[in-house]
Amino acid sequence: MFDIFNKKTKTDCENSENGILVFENTTDVIRAENVLKAKGWKIKVMGPPPNIRSGCDLVIEFPLMEEMSIRRSLLEAKLNPTQVVPVNSVLLEPVNLLHEKSYGNFFMVRAANMKITVDRNTKLIVNVSGGGCPDVPYLAGQMVNKHLNDTPQPKDIGYTLCAYALQIAYDRVVEIC
């Protein structure tokens, strides 16, 4: 019964009229993504349509019919989208192709323009490279020489798409190492 209820209310955004939630910055998008996914919403992080694109942007695609409930969930987490608009053009898919490379005991993962390298034996992050947004050198400073389990994560301290890409690479490294 509960599963059926879930299926009816937490609609998969691929099969319905969709909207997008626009936030002030990528950090808020990542927080909102975590909040909504934890509550079971089938949402997707996507690239914004050209008419609202300003630079380093992400939006959340969601089933428009669920707007009220989703807004309530966000409000509980003190998240306030700057715009909620219907999807009227094709949204861009985030990168989903990862490159992996071994250098002896070291292992590197690249997601889009971001790379993270880890010592397999010690699980220490030995380098972060790539990217072009200003939080990349900051993230590198915070993460290099930290253990994979102890490092601050880009999703918590980053702001940009480069940070989001680095999080994808980090998640993959954790999965493998």
């Binding site: 630079g55 990168v95 250098y103 070291f106 072009g132 200003p134 050198p137 900051y138 590198a140 702001y159």
Partner: protein
């Protein structure tokens, strides 16, 4: 003179402009001492090493603290818009920056008004926003890596994060991506593509390929792209033409990496220290 625009990864670092010097592993601007690890400080340090070798003055830099929320960059965009036309740089290199198409366009509109427009080089965030805004061809040189080249080649991607898989796929050869980037007017006059092989290219195709020495691990080391941008910017500001400077800079950067005997854990300052030795070898006949 070489001008450099970029960011410092500290939230409270003020907007500053002035001549920058290098002391050990720190760059110094005014009273501010900044550790050279990666990003714009690494780019500046490499440029200073190169300018010193070429007997040219230290670069004049515009720097602001930003950790990714874009607040510092907004201030610097505004400052550049109001002051850039008063400068007389021969070469101006733009580096780590928060992409904001609207603010970026205001800055380049001012540059377009300059009687003696500087040679314009862009890497990192400034290269992203130049392509994002459809203004890549306004620039003389971009220095992308393979992932960033795929972004330039993807006419629909507004950021490397959205590069489509069929373009990003590693089977795509760099020459094909270069061609595609020019086809869609998403490349600067020249491209210096860094990677396992370095390519110098323009709209007509590949000009030079630099593939020795080989140090595979350099790809993993944060800052190796920044040093390349610093070296090529300094060589161009020293009077070398863009094609020659790009090929020489690629060779110098590879050699400096080779001399540092790197591992994937090597930090960029160890490579920067080797730049004078590499310059001495590459530029010996010039």
């Amino acid at each position: 003179m070489l001008g450099i625009v970029g960011t410092i990864p500290e939230i409270n670092f003020p907007l500053v402009s002035g001549r920058v010097v290098l002391e050990g592993d720190h760059i110094i601007i005014g009273d501010n001492h900044i550790n050279v690890n990666r990003g714009t400080p690494a780019m500046i340090a490499a440029a200073i090493k190169t300018l010193k070798y070429m007997n040219k003055p230290d670069p004049y830099c515009y720097l602001v603290g930003d950790i990714g929320n874009g607040e510092g960059c907004k201030l610097l965009y505004k400052y550049l818009k109001e002051n850039i036309t008063e400068t007389s740089f021969k070469t101006l290199a733009f580096h780590y920056f928060q992409p904001d198409v609207g603010l970026f366009k205001r800055v380049i509109a001012e540059i377009a008004k300059m009687q003696n427009r500087p040679i314009l080089i862009a890497d990192a965030g400034f290269m992203y926003v130049a392509k994002m805004g459809g203004d890549a061809s306004f620039f003389d040189l971009f220095t992308p890596d393979a992932g960033e080249l795929a972004y330039l080649a993807d006419e629909k991607a507004p950021h490397p994060f959205y590069t489509r898989g069929f373009i990003l796929h590693e089977e795509n050869l760099v020459p094909d991506l270069i061609k595609r980037a020019y086809q869609h007017n998403n490349a600067s006059s020249y491209l210096l593509v860094k990677g396992a092989k370095d390519y110098v290219a323009d709209r007509n195709g590949i000009i030079t390929v630099i593939d020795t020495p080989v140090e595979e691990v350099l790809e993993a080391i944060g800052g190796t792209g920044d040093t390349l941008t610093g070296i090529v910017s300094a060589l161009i500001a020293s009077g070398m033409d863009i094609k020659t400077a790009s090929a020489k800079a690629a060779k110098v950067n590879r050699l400096a990496g080779f001399y540092a005997r790197p591992t994937p854990a090597t930090q960029i300052y160890d490579i920067i220290k080797q730049i004078p030795r590499a310059l001495n070898e590459v530029l010996v006949d010039i």
